[in-house]
């Protein structure tokens, strides 16, 4: 069975500093990995995905994520955080195309001015 772990419920970072939101996964086959962001009272917005290819994936709003197969991780990163990045971030995985996603419990990111 697939699973995703986001070990931090909350991440606080000062504006302008780099940020990392952690995600580890477990799948039986090759992973399809995703990051979504949720702003208050909004649906989920797609940020980026890893299917195959380069381990460093670049996405929307300056975010990137690094796929590490040996550590089964897919951490979300941004070099310089903005206050507007404050939101709830979800990592998700599936093991082949067009199947339901399995989500982590989410990490609340708070960027402090």
């Amino acid at each position: 069975a697939q699973s995703v772990a986001q070990p931090e419920d909350q991440v606080n970072v000062a504006e302008g500093n780099p940020l990392t939101v952690k995600c580890t996964y477990s799948v039986s086959g090759n992973p399809y990995l995703f990051w979504y962001v949720q702003y208050p009272n909004r649906g989920l917005q797609f940020l980026l995905k890893y299917i195959t290819g380069d381990n460093l994936v670049k996405g929307s709003y300056g975010f990137e994520a690094e796929f590490n197969k040996s550590q089964t991780s897919f951490h979300l990163k941004k070099p310089s955080a903005l206050v507007s990045d404050s939101a709830l971030y979800f990592c998700a995985v599936r093991d082949w195309a067009n199947t339901p996603l399995v989500f982590g419990k989410g990490t609340r990111l708070s960027v402090i001015a």
Binding site: Y32, F34, Y36, R42, G43, L44, Q45, F46, K49, F90, A92, W96, A97, N98, T99, P100, L101, V102, F103, G104, K105, G106
Partner: protein, 113 residues
């Protein structure tokens, strides 16, 4: 183009009543998913439609929950005899044929009194 839309955005009902939630996927997307997000939790898969194939109902929590989809368009999620534990945000997502990113609607917030 237009994204995934859901209606109503908010629904308040009394325990024991039936409710219907609607999802309009992105035009041309063959796959449609329903998820549930309880307060402070990640997303929980409910049901998945792919073209004309039989839906994957493995995530439905009880026989009070059902869903239909007309061809590759609108889907309705029905909850019969609602209970207070059904209170959650119900999110719909769609994705194109052959896999790819799931795009989410804004959700329906259901409150069962």
């Amino acid at each position: 183009g237009a994204g995934v839309s859901q209606s109503p955005s908010n629904k308040v009902t009394e325990k024991g009543k039936d409710v219907e939630l609607r999802c309009d996927p992105i035009s041309g997307h063959t796959a449609l998913y329903w998820y549930r997000q309880r307060l402070g939790q990640g997303l929980e898969f409910l049901i998945y439609f792919q073209g004309n194939s039989a839906p994957d109902k493995s995530g439905l929590p009880s026989d009070r929950f059902s869903a239909e989809r007309t061809g590759e368009s609108v889907s309705t999620l029905t909850i019969q005899r609602t209970q207070q534990e059904d209170s959650a945000v119900y999110l719909c997502a769609s994705s194109p044929l052959g896999g790819g990113t799931q795009y989410f609607g804004p959700g329906t917030r259901l409150t069962v009194l």
